[in-house]
């Protein structure tokens, strides 16, 4: 096979890859903007109402409508929106009056913090569980993992959330109540990244840090449980697949310990598709934790978008959707890169 001109080819390869990624990102975002925008305009909710309220006199109403540009043709509105969006200006949120970007910068870190921890918990527990279930297929532990998974799929998250609050907070008092941090600590540090754990740790406010940790632990475990349900199940099926491969037998033939065969050979291979699964579950937590956020009074992006949507705050909805879309595409990219890293065949 021709392998000449390696350096030049490699450069071109990466350039094409980058161009491809930019293209994917751009088209996906454009699609997102377009769909959301037009949905926003056909939704039978009057966005002006959200701003001026029910009692406003007609003159005020008309003025605001014009201010919002709602009297322009749809295409023109879209064009204006797009032009502004490119410069990072998504307009102001009606509900919070802040620029949408500021709001997202405030709410996204909360969700990010929660989802990241949740995914971490789900991954760290889910993978070993899945591996165990696959290795001991049909055994009690396999049934257990299956049950955990099933329960994770079928229990309404708000139910579990409230029940766990009732148990761990109200009855046992192991964790503090809903919210990100206790009011006593909330002014001890200055929000920089808005990721409380990071901010408090960086500013050396350890009391506040531990308080934040104790606040996040329950909702994170809850989200972790749901991602665990998915991850353990997928791990199990990938592991079953890998364990049936010839190379596993070859590894046994070499006289390797069963531990090494499972964790180093089989799991190392199962990790390749798992990366995608974890990324997917992470993305789901980032976008889908609305209900958890509601129960735990967690001022996150999910709540923000839902609330905005219900109030026809379309700027906020669009902005939020774009952020989630971007995160999604980025996660795709990262999992793609990891995939390449983990699987030499795709390099």
């Amino acid at each position: 096979m021709a392998n000449g001109g390696g350096g030049h080819d490699a450069l071109r390869f990466y350039l094409t890859k980058t161009a491809q990624f930019v293209f994917v990102l751009a088209t996906t975002l454009l699609g997102l903007v377009a769909v959301t925008f037009f949905i926003g305009r056909i939704v039978p909710i009057d966005p002006v109402l959200a701003i001026v309220g029910d009692r406003a006199p007609p003159a005020v109403y008309a003025r605001v409508r014009q201010e919002l540009g709602l009297d322009l043709p749809l295409i023109q509105q879209f064009w204006i929106y797009l032009r502004k969006a490119v410069t990072g200006d998504f307009g102001n949120s009606v509900l919070t009056t802040n620029p949408v970007m500021t709001d997202i910068a405030n709410t996204f870190p909360a969700t990010f913090e929660l989802a990241t921890l949740g995914t971490l918990i789900g991954t760290l527990i889910g993978i070993p569980l899945g591996v165990l279930a696959a290795v001991k297929r049909g055994s009690l532990i396999d049934q257990f993992v299956r049950f955990i998974g099933l329960a994770g799929y079928s229990i309404p998250i708000f139910w579990l959330g409230l029940m766990s609050l009732l148990l761990f907070y109200a009855k046992l008092g192991w964790v503090p109540g809903p919210g990100r941090i206790d009011v006593t600590y909330s002014y001890l540090y200055t929000p920089v990244t808005n990721i409380v754990l990071l901010d408090t740790a960086m500013q050396g406010q350890w009391d506040a840090f531990w308080d934040a940790v104790s606040h996040i632990i329950l909702p994170a475990c809850l989200l972790g449980y749901f991602s665990l349900a998915y991850i353990s199940r997928m791990t199990r099926s990938f592991m079953l697949n890998e364990l049936a491969q010839e190379y596993v037998i070859a590894a046994r033939v070499k006289g390797l310990s069963e531990m090494r065969v499972i964790w180093r050979h089989a799991l190392r291979n199962a990790a390749v598709p798992l990366v995608t699964v974890i990324a997917l579950s992470y993305a789901n937590l980032l976008e889908g934790s609305v209900l958890t956020e509601t129960v735990f009074a967690w001022p996150g992006l999910g709540q923000y978008i839902t609330n905005s949507l219900q109030n026809a705050d379309m700027n906020a909805v669009l902005g939020g959707t774009l952020v989630i879309g971007t995160v999604f595409v980025l996660l795709n990219l990262v999992s793609d890169l990891l995939y390449r890293l983990l699987d030499p065949r795709t390099r």
């Binding site: 996906t28 959301t36 799929y153 976008e287 939020g320 989630i324």
Partner: protein, 310 residues
């Protein structure tokens, strides 16, 4: 609870079914179904799953006869409201003094409706998009996968909420919204599967017989993707019921007083701590039905999915 008990088979019929040399396509098909059924029934959990699903069907069908009270008309607000489970009200009553048991019984119809509708909308869309894009490749693939990605990258709830908002609330629209948000993963699966088989020799063989592209896709590619998709869809059932519940939770699902389980749980959340049965009972129903579908899906995977059967 077991599913339909296997009828005592007259040995003649059985022999006919298992005949190694069926005489007609029909006999062959029945025989094959019988074999599948036999291997399926060897898996007790799968049978349990099937039992639950059959029970759901049965309950939905005969709700009128099973339910002791009306699902929508409540009793006396002053005396019959939020009663705990008792002999008169097996599962207690809700905030409108309605019998929860009767509501759950009638709610099975809605659940069934949601499940069936979502699967017959989302599965074909996913299947079509996935197989076409996987088989044709090139720019068709690029375009279709971009669209899939866009729908995938959409926050599900936003999309569902938006659709419900655009179409107006109500269970039908909730179903459409859920369907619209759930096809992309199916498309992905179907595409991955198609990519695996599109270069296989048996596809080359039909091509060599001059088969047209639609013929290949629908006659040869689709049947191979469909089984893993069916498995996936049954496994998704729980998620679908819960998404419907989630929409109900946000007030966009079924309209009151219809006894939709998710909406019932959502209402019950107001009484979660003291009148636990209001949310727990329909929640349990959701759990059991999801469990049923999951077990069934697992069992079907063994019967249908050639890869898992290996």
């Amino acid at each position: 609870m077991a599913g339909a008990p296997p009828l005592p088979q007259p040995s003649g019929l059985r022999a006919w079914l298992l005949s190694a040399e069926p005489n007609s396509r029909w006999q062959a098909r029945l025989g094959r179904g019988y074999l599948g059924w036999r291997s399926f029934t060897k898996n007790p959990l799968a049978v349990l799953g099937l039992g639950i699903v059959v029970l759901l069907l049965f309950v939905a069908l005969f709700a009128d006869f099973i339910a002791p009270y009306s699902p929508v008309i409540g009793g006396d607000l002053r005396t019959q409201r939020l009663l705990p489970p008792s002999e008169t009200f097996w599962l207690g009553t809700d905030d409108q003094a309605r019998d929860i048991f009767s509501r759950i019984i009638y709610g099975s119809r809605i659940t069934l409706f949601v499940i069936v509708l979502v699967s017959i909308i989302a599965t074909p869309i996913g299947l079509l998009v996935g197989t076409v894009s996987g088989y044709l490749g090139g720019w068709v693939d690029t375009v279709l996968m971009r669209i899939t990605d866009i729908f995938l990258a959409f926050p599900r709830l936003v999309l569902a909420l938006a659709f419900v908002a655009a179409l107006g609330p109500g269970i039908e629209n909730a179903v459409i919204a859920i369907a619209i948000t759930s096809w992309p993963p199916y498309a992905r699966i179907a595409r991955a599967e198609t990519l695996m088989i599109r270069n296989s020799d048996f596809i080359a063989a039909v091509k060599l017989q001059g088969a047209s592209t639609p013929r290949i896709i629908f006659g040869h590619v689709v049947p191979l993707c469909i089984s893993s998709l069916i498995v996936r869809v049954t496994l998704d059932m729980a998620g679908i019921i819960l998404t419907a519940a989630g929409l109900g939770f946000l007030g966009l699902g079924a309209q009151p007083p219809s006894p939709e389980w998710g909406a019932m749980v959502a209402t019950g959340r107001n009484y979660l701590i003291d009148q636990w049965w209001v949310a727990a009972m329909p929640g349990l129903a959701i759990f059991v039905v999801s469990l049923g579908f999951n077990l069934l899906g697992d069992g079907l995977r063994d019967v249908l999915d050639p890869k898992a059967a290996k």
